[in-house]
């Protein structure tokens, strides 16, 4: 656990840079984390972020498959929006924990 400053606000993060308190998250913080991931946010990006946050609040375990079936994006589009590791990057930007879809 450590503290980091995004958009002038001090927030708690895990060692891997994921916010530990979703309440501390703001769109400005999300935007700065996205910049770290070299992603420029568009409306579609925000739509995905909103979906992930809702799922997290409802305690639904997230996986790339689930996001692909969400109706928000398909898997191909998800990769295009967040190249490399879409679920990990998008979760970081959304201020939710690193997904533990693997057991």
């Amino acid at each position: 656990m450590m503290e980091r400053t995004y958009a002038g606000t001090c927030v708690y993060c895990s060692d891997q840079g994921y916010l530990t308190e979703l309440e501390q998250w703001t769109p400005e913080i999300g935007k700065e984390i996205a910049a770290e991931e070299e992603i420029e946010m568009t409306d579609k990006h925000w739509e995905v972020i909103k979906y992930l946050q809702e799922q997290c609040k409802n305690e639904v375990a997230l996986s790339i498959r689930r996001v692909g079936k969400s109706g928000v994006v398909n898997i191909k589009e998800f990769y295009a929006l967040f190249p490399g590791g879409p679920l990990k990057k998008a979760s970081r930007i959304a201020g939710i924990p690193k997904p533990v879809s693997c057991i």
Partner: protein, 418 residues
């Protein structure tokens, strides 16, 4: 008379039939178990079949042999569960009513989920080893294969026995060295995960072993399709890995019957309380083993520990008491590392695998997370334990359903992992 109905006579269902028949009065409770199959496979043996270490007959026995007297075995396909009327519809039109239902229908491979996987090349140069046929066909292929690019691959998590693909890679290394052709084989391990395994400390040890055995690792690879023409697998991000022989673990899914019953998650696993093993679908429906969606490994050892907890909770449910027994996610797995050695890992929901001794603290004789010959013999001995004790519901000495931290080197790990 009241009725308990168990769906599936695999590892979990058979254990529950044995446990329940011993615990419930025959005058009060009928126990019925439904399974379409005739053969009970020792699934851990599928790992050894491709390398001619086990013979096919060592991994199969008749299902009937392990169903205790006083339990009614129905050999028929299941169409669906009607949870509102507490009934199960079979495909022959028969209807079975129940007071308590236990879903133990396991998980199966679903190669059809990946584009191009189940083509004309399936079981010719693209193989699974999670089915009896897959393992046996792969054995025939490996007997005559002359070398090239061997890719061991996981499609997506969760899968049954998450260490099996790694063990396959280790055993392949050993197999080709023994055949004096290791220099002709380029071995690559491709996984959707960050590294070799799902838990950090074990991943460190296992990544090191991969390196030592000259097995390349390609992490974070989420397969989109198999390109049969150009013999390569392609990731959603555009990355590609070429193969001459692809040994893949396809997407694992629960029984399609779960979907037909109108519940189950994206992968047809039953929504289940991870502590009590009661489904969240309805109070009188319980689930066990690979069929559940709980965040524990899909493995026989997990099913064994779950069975002791589920028995206690079903007895409490029958007595109208609050469910109390709590499953901690305990898993205990041998990892074959080749050349007659193996590792042993022991972990649960909150404690990742670490080094130490097992099952007797400070004594062993088994070593945790370290390669040893004794661990390998432990793995081989397990086949006997499986057929003679485990599925008959006999308690295994020194190994309790709740994980023990005694004898473990926990210094490095203060915080829970989940």
């Amino acid at each position: 008379m009241k009725n308990i109905l168990i769906l599936g006579a695999g590892t979990s269902g058979t254990m529950m039939a044995n446990h329940l028949r011993k615990s419930l009065s025959k005058d009060q409770w009928n126990i019925t178990i439904v399974d379409k199959e005739e053969t009970h496979y020792y699934q851990p043996g599928f790992l050894f079949l491709p390398f001619d270490i086990y013979k096919p007959k060592q991994v199969k026995k008749s299902i009937d042999k392990f169903i205790p007297k006083g339990v009614n075995l129905v050999r028929e396909k299941i169409d669906r569960i009607e949870k509102d009327s507490d009934q199960v519809f079979l495909q022959n039109g028969e209807i079975i009513s129940y007071d308590i239902l236990i879903i133990a229908t396991g998980t199966d491979i679903a190669p059809q989920e990946i584009e191009g996987m189940q083509s004309d090349n399936w079981h010719k140069d693209v193989f699974d080893f999670y089915t009896f046929d897959g393992a046996k066909n792969l054995r025939n292929k490996l007997r005559e294969w002359e070398g090239g690019k061997l890719v061991v691959h996981i499609c997506e998590m969760p899968i049954k026995c998450p260490v099996a693909p790694l063990e396959f890679a280790f055993l392949a290394d050993s197999f080709f060295i023994n055949k004096d052709m290791r220099d002709k084989v380029d071995l690559t391990f491709v996984t959707p995960m960050d590294g070799a395994f799902t838990k950090p400390t074990a991943t460190k040890e296992l990544n090191h072993l991969l390196e030592e055995k000259n097995i390349k690792i390609v992490p974070n690879f989420n397969i989109e399709k198999v390109d049969n023409e150009n013999k390569k697998i392609v990731d959603y991000g555009g990355a590609e890995v070429e193969y001459d022989l692809l040994v893949t673990v396809p997407t694992n899914m629960g029984d399609p019957m779960i979907e037909r019953s109108g519940f189950g998650d994206d992968l047809n696993f039953v929504p289940t309380d991870k502590s009590t093993l009661q489904s969240t679908v309805k109070d009188n429906i319980f689930a066990i083993g690979d069929a559940t969606n709980i965040p524990a490994s899909k493995a026989g050892s997990v099913a064994h520990f779950e069975a002791e907890i589920l028995l206690e909770n079903i007895l409490r449910f029958i007595d109208g008491k609050e469910l109390k027994a709590s499953f901690d996610g305990h898993a205990n797995c041998f990892i074959e590392t080749g050349h007659g050695k193996a590792l042993l890992i022991d972990f649960n929901y909150t404690h990742e695998p670490v080094t130490g001794s097992f099952p007797l603290p400070g004594v062993g004789p088994l070593r945790l997370l370290k390669e040893s010959r004794m661990n390998h013999f432990g793995k081989l001995a397990f086949r006997w334990i499986y057929w003679n004790m485990l599925i008959k519901g006999t308690h295994i000495p020194f190994v309790s359903s709740a994980m023990s931290t005694a004898g473990k080197d926990l210094k490095e790990e203060e915080t829970p992992i989940l």
